[in-house]
Structures are given as C-alpha cells and as structure tokens.
C-alpha cells in the first residue's frame, strides 16, 4: 500500500475506535468510585492469612496461578532471546577494547553496586510486608550487576556473570515455584494451595505461609532472566560481529 492509503486506513480505523472508546468512557463508573467487590474480598482474605501487603497476597496466593503463567512468559522470552540472538555461522566474536573509565565513575559504580544489590535483596525479602517484592527486587538486583560495566569494563562483567549459570538459575527458580505448587497438591489440598506452612505473625518476615517462598522464587527468576536478557543484548551490541569478507 502507498503511504497515502495507509494513512487513510489508519484515519478511518483510528477515528472509529476512538469514537467507540470515548463513548464508553462516560459509561464507566466515575473515577475514584467506592465499589470494588473483588478488591474488598481480596483484602479480607489477605489479612486472614497474615499477609500485610495485599498485592503480594494476590500475586503469590490468591491469584498465584496468573503469576505461574507470567513466570512462563518470562522464561519463554529468555529462552527465545537466547535462541534468537545466538551467534550464527557467519558471525564471530570480537573482544571489545578495554574501555578507559574515569576514576570517579569507577568509584561511584563500585560503591553503588553493593548498595543496589542489597537494596534489591531487601526489596525481594520484604515483598509480603511492604511495597515491592520479587519482580521489583529482581530487576533492581540484576540491573545493579550491570553497574560493573560502568565501573570496571565489559570483561570484568563477563567474569562475574557466567551466563550459563544464570540460565540454569532461571530454570531452577521456575522449578522451585512449580515444586511449591505441587507440594500444595500432594499435601492433600490443591495445586498452589497456601496451606502447608503456618501463616505466622502479621507483619513479620515469616508471615503469609508460602507467599515468601513463591516471592523468593519469582525474585530469583526475574533477576536471572534480566541478567540473561541484558547479557544477550550487550553481547550483540559489543561483541558479535559479522564475519568480514562474507
């Protein structure tokens, strides 16, 4: 299609959809309304299971099956990216030049790195209590590791980052989540049932039954997945080159 035809199709389609959606907006309950039946039930159940962060209770207990699917998506995209960004027959690796990093930047990165890593771990560990959890903490920890790229250089990063191990870690974390689920089933209740462990004392680290376990599994999964994803892209951006002369 020519650009003009494309614009016309877009104009018609966009205008129609816009009209439809805008017409639907006034029919929605007004913003800030007080009716949230599902939400109210969720809060009730979360408190009954001693989980202070309701969102953690939804993600890792009440709707833990959604999180299982999401874990699958994350896992699939990691394998997918590894497969899609593999080194093909017509490509070779070029060792990157050691980059000269100015001393203040290096110091800054090396100081921030442990802090950021610890922050990530803290955020994962307190998932069932305060805002945050496996998703957020995992991303923070994985990104923190890449401060090494800033602080030292690419080769230093490669040394602390054996990608194969992170791939295995990713898979083990996923298995851990599933095994916890199976334990619920074998324990006599149902898949992913949070009935095996005591619910503990409200607002402590060991509260919420299996919520902290699943949360930790997701934290590990996300951290490993992000490390592998970033590594694959860095690899492409920095190392892999097309074979010259082919």
């Amino acid at each position: 299609m020519t650009r003009r035809v494309r614009r016309w199709v877009l104009a018609v389609g966009g205008a129609g959809l816009a009209a439809l959606l805008v017409a639907a907006c006034p029919a929605l309950p007004p913003f800030g309304g007080a009716t949230h039946p599902y939400g109210d039930r969720v809060v009730h159940e979360s408190l009954a299971r001693q989980t202070a962060n309701t969102i953690a209770s939804v993600n890792f207990d009440q709707r833990a099956f959604d999180t299982l699917g999401e874990l699958g998506i994350l896992f699939a995209s990691v394998i997918g990216t590894v497969v899609l960004l593999r080194q093909t027959r017509d490509e070779r690796r070029a060792a990157p030049e050691p980059a000269a990093v100015s001393l203040p930047v290096r110091r800054y990165a090396l100081i921030v790195l442990p802090v950021a890593l610890l922050t990530g771990l803290y955020v994962v560990a307190h998932g069932q209590l305060s805002p945050g959890g496996g998703f957020q903490g995992g991303v923070v920890a994985a990104t923190a590791l890449h401060l090494l790229y800033l602080g030292a250089d690419y080769r230093a990063l490669e040394n602390v980052r054996p990608i194969g191990l992170y791939e295995v870690g990713d898979a083990l974390a996923a298995s851990g989540y599933l095994v916890t689920g199976f334990a619920g089933l074998l324990g006599g209740t149902a898949f992913l049932a949070n009935t095996l462990l005591p619910y503990g004392t409200f607002n402590t680290l060991a509260s919420g039954g299996t919520v902290p376990l699943l949360n930790a599994a997701i934290g590990m999964e996300v951290a490993c997945a992000v490390v592998v994803l970033l590594a694959r892209f860095l690899d492409q951006a920095v190392e892999i080159e097309k074979e010259s002369g082919s």
């Binding site: 877009l10 129609g16 699939a76 089933l185």
Partner: protein, 585 residues
C-alpha cells in the same frame, strides 16, 4: 479428578524448566526424548481428564473454592471443548516433536534443550488458555502462547523471511493482546469481577448493553480475532506461517489460530451471552460477515500462491473463515460441526505441512514452479499429500468432511455455498501443487506476477539435504491423516464431541452429529469441484493463472507492519459498526 487440571499447565512447564536446567552439557539425544515424554504425558493427562469431563470439571486453583458464591481465586474449567482443545494441542505438540526428532535443524550451540523446551512452553500456553475460566488468566496464557510462537517462528534466524515474519507476527499479535487487556479492564470496571461467568452475570445485573459493553466486546474480540486471523486482522498469518520451521507450522496452523476461534466461542458464551451482553443477532451479523470475508479472501489468495507453505497458510485463513461462520451462527449444531471441523482440519493441515517440510529438506525449495516434476520419486509422500488435499476438500469420511457437512446443514442456505466454494478452491490449489510437483503434469508453470513471494532458495531445515526421507517424517503425517479420518469415520467420536460441546454450550439440549446423505453429497461435490479445478489449472494454465482483478488484493498483503496495524484498527472499527445496531435500539 478436578485437582489435576492445573497439572496440564504445570507438567509441561516443569519439563521445559528441567530441560533448561540441564544446562549447556545436556546432549540432544537426551533433550528430545525428555521433551517427547513430557509432552506425551501431558497429552495422556488431557485425554484422561477429557474422558472424565462429564459433568465438567471445575477447579479453584490454590483451594480458593467460593464461600457464599464468592471467591478470590482463579477458576479453571475442564469441560469437553476446553479439554478437547488442550488434548488436541498436546497431541499436535507431540506430533511436531516426533516429526522434528533428530533431523530438525542443528540446535543452537550449547542449547540443545531450547527447541523442545520452547515447544513444551507452547503446549503450556495452549493448555492454560484452553482450560481458563478467568478472563485475566486467559489473557496471561494467551500471551504465553503468543510469546513462544514469536520465538519459534523466528527460530531460524539466518532466514531473512523468518525474522521479518516473526516480527510482524509479534507486533500485530501483541497489539491485539493489549486491546484485549483494555477490554478486560473495561469489563472489570463495570462488574468488579474477573471470572468469566461472574462477569457475564455482572453485565446482566447492570441492565441492557450500552457503549461500554460494545467497547469491551470489540476490544476483547479484536485480540481473539487477531489470533484467529479473521479478515482484516489476518495479514500476519501468511507471513508468519510460511516462514516458521515446519514442525512449528504444524502447530500454528493446526491449533494455535483455532485457539482464537475457541476463545471467541468461550468468551461469547460466558461473558456476552446474557441480556446484558451483546444481542445474539448482532454477534451473528458481525461474526458471519467477517467469516464470509475471511473465507473468500483466504480462498482467492490461496489459489494464487506458488510458495507452498504460504498457500497452506492461506488455506488456514480460508478455513478459519468457515470456523468463524460456524461459531457465529450461534446454534448448537453449528458448534458441534465446527468442533469436528477443527479436529479434522488440524490433522489434515498438520499432515500437509509435514509433507511440505519433506519437500523442503529434500529439494531445498518450497516453490511450486521450481519443484515442477522434481518430486516424482517420492511416491509415499505424494500419496499422503493428495490424501491431505482430499481431506481439505471434505471428502467423506474424513473428519473435515463430517464437520463441514454438519456445519453446512446448520447454517443452511447461501452460507453452505461459501463452505463448498472455499473448501473446493483451497483443496484445488493443493491438488494443483500435487500434480505439478509430484507428477510434473501439464505444461511447466511460468512466472507471471512480480508481486509475490516465491519459495526458491529456502534453506533446508535438516543438517544436510536429505537423501532419503527418515521414517519419523512420514509416519507422523500418516498418523495425523489417520486421526483426521477417525474423527469422521469412527461413529463414537462424533457423538462424544457433540455431547461434550452441547453440555458446555447450550446445556441440556444434546445433539448428536452424524453423516446425512446431503452431507455426503456436499462433501463429494466439494471434492469433485476441487479435482476439476486442479485438473483445469494444470491443463490450461492461462484462464486460471494470475488475474488483473486480484492484483489490488495481493497488494494489500504488503509485508509492512504499519499496514497491518492500520488494518487491525480498521477491523476493530468494522467489528464495532457491525455490532452497533443492537446497542442503539
């Protein structure tokens, strides 16, 4: 028994995780059997559950069974159609894994487990979507099967066409999924629930349909119809299916797009069915119009292809049109017919792709013109290919024939003409390919159009060009065809399918689909028409070759992501316009 429902998801996912956890040392000789065993185990589980699915199984994951009718958990519904789709997806995954056994492309270095792991994840996504009774949960697994499908489609990264097709597939389908999620958010805003049945009740409690119901309907169906490749959401399909590795094509055409149609059936029946949903007449109008358009566009485009996989992909588009008509006519008999048709079609289409894969690996081409007369020695494959083509036409007693006959009778009138024409034209195109490639019949086809995709210079998917066809690659299509035949020929199957579909759909009114003389005649008519068309096209290429009037239609299929997204928006508008009258009155 219902406690086992989540295992349909958990088992293949665990298998995939273990394959990756095996790490870089895992040899291919271990990875592939593990993949097959896990896939087969899941398939067995799906079948066992299917046989116990009357009355339908209901499982609240995590033991969150409703208290006073209210639950906070996720519900899985294991009824006949859901578990049937899960079983179909599992069996096809198994077939694809066996087909790719040992011969499929060299795995990425030190990642021998990645291909079987992705296939298992694909199975996970499809099973999860099939048994989902919660709308957001359905979205999550919908997204899972899509994500895996993008990665698998682009698996052969050294092929320019493959990566482009996969990217188009990814962008268009992701956009569709986001539209669906917007629709889910609208429904949640209105009803405050996520379980499909409860959303439906919430809509009914709110009163008649209004702009919000329509918007939610359009958004959710846009997501599902993109997957189901209904015109004008279909452009991504030929681009993706034609370039994916053959075992993946078998799954994409055999069951993935059908999941979209299944989703439409499920969501309409549970969410938009009641007095608060979209009136039946409007849904029927919208789906039947889109279905007829899809069938005709798919059939025309199918006829004019020379890239054999692309031709098969368009025939999938055309058949999806028929399935959408079947679902859209909203009668229990049409639902039965469509279910049988989907089962039969899956076997036939997967077998045809499998045969094409053999051609690719043997001759390094999937181009009808380039392969002219070259495959004379492959007699066994030729027989399978022709049988597949006849199955596509709906020759009794193939399952496709029974499904087509039952649906035709249910929709009646001019719509059954569409069924006959579409099945005859698509099967005719496949038979024409068979005559050219396996027999070298007629004059050698000449290149006419400049605006087309050829199948010359494709890389074989096996490590070396095959000198002899491995047994697994011929046994699999043969079994698939046998399965398709069994759906139509074994009387019990049709009765079971009819029982399962009516139990889940209409509830109470049981139907029993069976062969009728009229159905047999229509099936024979389609087959004879297909044979005639193929014979004419081979003997007299001129009047059946490229026609000027198809040129604009071909130019729409431009391979341009922007075009496809623009059409997706236009399609959503069309859907809204078609369903609008009931809201206004």
């Amino acid at each position: 028994m219902n406690h086992l429902l989540p295992l349909l998801v958990a088992a293949p996912l665990l298998g995939a995780a273990l394959l990756v956890a095996g790490g870089r040392r895992l040899p291919r000789a271990v990875a592939e059997p593990v993949g097959c065993v896990v896939s087969a185990g899941t398939a067995a589980l799906a079948i066992v559950l299917l046989l116990n699915s009357s009355p339908p199984l209901v499982e609240w994951v995590g033991g969150w069974a409703p208290k006073d009718g209210e639950s906070v958990g996720i519900v899985l519904v294991g009824d006949g159609p859901g578990l049937g789709m899960a079983a179909l997806a599992s069996l096809l995954t198994l077939a694809a894994l066996v087909y790719s056994w040992r011969y499929f492309d060299e795995p990425p270095r030190r990642h021998a487990g990645s291909f079987p792991a992705l296939m298992l994840l694909f199975q996970t996504g499809m099973c999860g979507f099939a048994v989902a009774g919660d709308l957001f949960d359905a979205f999550v697994f919908f997204e899972l099967m899509s994500v895996v499908a993008y990665a698998l489609t682009g698996h052969r990264v050294e092929e320019a066409k493959a990566v482009q097709g996969a990217l188009t597939f990814g962008v268009v389908n992701s956009l569709g999924a986001y539209a669906m999620l917007l629709g889910i958010a609208l429904l949640y805003a209105r009803t405050g629930e996520l379980a499909m049945v409860k959303i439906g009740r919430g809509l009914d409690a709110h009163g008649g349909p209004d702009a919000l119901t329509l918007a939610a309907f359009v958004l959710v169906l846009t997501g599902l119809l993109v997957k189901a490749a209904a015109v004008p959401f279909h452009f991504w399909l030929p681009d993706a299916h034609a370039v994916a590795p053959t075992p993946v094509c078998m799954l994409l055409s055999g069951v993935l797009v059908e999941m979209g149609a299944y989703g439409v059936w499920r969501v309409y029946g549970t969410v938009f069915d009641g007095p608060g949903g979209i009136p039946a007449a409007d849904v029927e109008r919208a789906l039947v119009v889109l279905g007829v358009l899809t069938g005709l566009v798919g059939a025309v485009m199918c006829w004019y292809q020379r890239h054999i996989k692309r031709l098969l992909a368009y025939s999938t588009v055309a058949h999806m049109g028929l399935f959408v008509i079947g679902i859209g006519s909203l009668t229990p008999e049409a639902d039965d017919g469509t279910a049988l048709y989907i089962l039969g079609h899956a076997g036939v289409k997967a077998a045809l792709f499998a045969c094409t894969g053999i051609l690719l690996d043997r001759y390094g081409s999937v181009d009808e013109h380039a392969l002219y007369g070259r495959a004379r020695s492959l007699r066994g494959v030729a027989v399978l290919f022709v049988l597949g083509a006849l199955g596509l036409a709906g020759l009794p007693p193939f399952g496709t024939g029974l499904g087509k006959a039952v649906t035709e009778e249910a929709v009646g009138g001019p719509l059954s003409v569409v069924f006959v024409v579409v099945s005859a034209v698509t099967a005719g195109a496949v038979l024409r390919v068979a005559a050219h490639v396996f027999l070298g019949a007629g004059p050698e086809p000449r290149d006419v159009s400049a605006y087309e995709t050829t199948g010359i210079r494709e890389e074989p998917e096996t490590r070396h060009r095959l000198s002899r066809v491995p047994d697994t690659m011929t046994v699999v299509p043969a079994l698939l065809l046998a399965g398709s035949l069994a759906v139509g020929a074994v009387p019990g199957v049709a009765r079971l399918v009819g029982h399962a579909v009516s139990e889940a759909g209409s509830g109470g009114a049981f139907t029993s689909p069976h062969w009728t003389p009229a159905g047999v005649l229509l099936g024979l008519l389609s087959t004879v028409l297909a044979l005639g068309l193929a014979a004419l096209a081979v003997s007299r290429p001129e009047p059946f070759g490229e026609q000027p009037w198809t040129e604009p239609l071909r130019r729409l299929q431009s391979g341009h992501i922007g075009d496809y997204v623009a059409w997706t928006l236009a399609g959503a508008t069309l859907l809204g316009a078609l369903a609008l009258p009931g809201i206004l009155s």
